[in-house]
Structure formats: structure tokens, C-alpha cells
Symmetry: C2
Subunit: 167 residues, 2 copies
DNA sequence: TCACTATAGTTGAGCACTCAAGATCAGAGG
DNA sequence: CCTCTGATCTTGAGTGCTCAACTATAGTGA
């Protein structure tokens, strides 16, 4: 009983090209940041989200959401960033379980130092390769994917543990 | 002197949507394979490449290229896959530096067991979200990116160490 | 007041990856 | 033959991630 909806040739080709493009692209981005700014891309994003927040401060949980990070991952990351002197954690007074993360001046400086090289890399690996129409298409495709993936069930089949409305 | 070609709003939005879509998408793919087949996506790809090769056998270096893996990464990965009994390494007789990697019957079986769930996931996270026109557009965009990134200089600026023709 | 449940965040173990360095061998040139 | 360059593949250390388990506090309802 093979109900699998296999990929046809066109889909297969698309998936592999998509995979390859992604690997190559993010490898470049990651390497550039690691070499010139001594931080992985995930950390860069955390610094960006903090820099955009009022008082450069966010609750850990909000920061996790906006930087597309799991709680655990963020905890580990912020521990490292704190060690580097780029972020500070302070206790939250209204909710004593919580914690604030604040971007320090040193962190802001590190971000500003890293930004030009990073942006240049993003442009050179992505936008320089595409026509304006393709950029627009990529935008629409990405938005469609995000809409489709956000809040969608993580496990299409199986794993409907204690979710009565599943299935 | 700020020559940085910053991203305009449209580019910024596109980049962030692209990033978000990628994170969400590959997180699903990775999780599904890890949970249902006990292997990361990179290992799955290695098994696929081997399964498509004559005699299910490839030189390590070719396997590294086709699976978009660094030599080091492949060495570590194949060591693990060998431990699992899914791949075998044998010495190459014509080039005694080299090594062959062969997909075992157990490896083929593991791959066949993993494939339906993986393909179903790929379909559900990617193709189900897109119109046929968008799939075609994504294909063209991906191919353009791959063409642009393959054999392009890794470090646009700097790092022209011993490459006399750089610059 | 007293559970009970949910939320916020951390921690440690295990694993995959990167980087740099090394061991081994092939091929080319003197 | 012998050296030199380059290719093949491996190894070990360091790092960031995931997962599961944990602590601590908030909120809810009897």
C-alpha cells in the first residue's frame, strides 16, 4: 500500500535545485560572518532583533520568537553573547520567571561593524543573481511558504498526541 | 566612507521572508527525518546519491561533491553511516589514496523505508503551498542562484591570498 | 488556601558541523 | 631516481544545535 505522492520530474528537479541553491547561499553567508565578524548568522540575527527593539531590550521569549529560535537555542546563544559582552541579561521584576535581554553598546558596535560585510554578501549571493521580476517572485513565494508553515501542524501524519482537534 | 549597497525596503522584506521560509521549511524536513528515520537530512542525501550510483558505489570525493558536502564532513558522516551498517568503505586499488563508499543492502533498505515519509514532508511543506506557476518560478530562481554561486569566488572582497588572477 | 496546569527560562548530554592540521599517495619535472 | 606540488581522505578540537529534563513562578479553579 504505497499511497506516497512521489515527486514528478519537474518537482524533483525543483527540489534539488532549491536545496543546492540554499546550501551554497547560506554557506557563503555563514562563512562571511564567521570570518569577518566572528559570529554565526543566528547570533547576528539575535543582535539585529535586539537593536530594533525599544531600549534595545526584549524578553527572552519574544526574542526567541522574532529570531526564529527555540528557547533552548536562545538560552545557549545569549549565554555566549553575554560572555562576549554583547548582550546583558537582567531579571524581570513583574514576572519573576522571566528575563530581559539587552544589547550592550559593545554589542551595537559589533553589529554595526558586521553589517556592511554581511549586507554586501547577501546582495552578492542573492540579489545580484536575480532579475527584479525574480526578486518579486521570490518574495511572493517566500511569503506563501511562511503563511503555509506558520502554525501548521508540525507532523502532518502521526503525532496527534493530545490534540483532540487533530485529524 | 560607506560604499555599502544597503538593501532597500523591498529587498529587506524579501530577504527576511526568504530566511524565515527556509528556517521553517528545513526545520520540518530535518525533524521528520530525525524522528521517523533516525537520520539527519545530510545523511539521507548521501544515501540517495549512493543509491543512484552504479553498483551503489562512489569515490569519497565524488560523493562529497554530489552531496554538497565538504570532505571533512563526509568523512565524519560516512564513519557514522558505516557504524550503522548502511555504508561500507573499501580501499581503492588504482589510487591508493582513495576510498570507495558503497551503500549496503541494509542502507538501501533504510533509505527505502525513509523515502515515503520524507517525500510526503517535502510535498507538504513546499509544493502544497505553491501554485504550479510559483513552482516553475522557484525552479528558475534556484537554477539562476546555483549558476551564480557555483565556482564563484567565495570571498568577494579580501581573501585573494594566492590567486594571482583575482582583483 | 491548595492543588493543577501552563509558562519562562536554563541545563547537560549527545550529535553534526567547521576548521586546521596531518598522513598518505599520485603525477610531473629535473 | 628524487623532489615537489597537489590530490585524497582522515582526525581532533571547538562550537552550535537539538532534545529531554529540570527549576521556578504565574495563573486558574475548587
Amino acid at each position: 500500500m504505497d499511497h506516497t505522492r512521489w515527486l514528478d520530474d519537474h518537482e524533483q528537479e525543483t527540489w534539488r535545485a532549491f536545496l543546492t541553491a540554499n546550501r551554497l547561499l547560506f554557506e557563503r553567508v555563514e562563512r562571511q560572518l564567521q570570518n569577518e565578524a566572528r559570529m554565526p548568522h543566528a547570533y547576528y540575527e539575535i543582535l539585529v532583533r535586539l537593536s530594533e527593539a525599544p531600549d534595545r531590550t526584549l524578553r527572552m521569549s519574544r526574542l526567541a520568537d522574532t529570531s526564529l529560535s527555540s528557547r533552548s537555542r536562545l538560552s545557549h546563544a545569549v549565554a555566549r553573547l553575554e560572555q562576549a559582552g554583547w548582550v546583558e541579561r537582567t531579571a524581570c521584576e513583574t514576572d519573576r520567571r522571566g528575563a530581559w535581554a539587552r544589547l550592550t553598546d559593545a554589542g551595537q558596535a559589533a553589529l554595526e561593524a558586521a553589517a556592511p560585510g554581511h549586507v554586501e554578501t547577501v546582495r552578492s549571493v542573492l540579489f545580484d543573481a536575480l532579475t527584479p521580476a525574480q526578486v518579486t517572485a521570490l518574495n511572493e513565494i517566500s511569503v506563501a511558504l511562511v503563511d503555509h508553515l506558520v502554525d501548521a501542524p508540525v507532523w502532518p501524519a502521526e503525532n496527534d498526541r493530545d490534540c483532540p482537534e487533530a485529524g
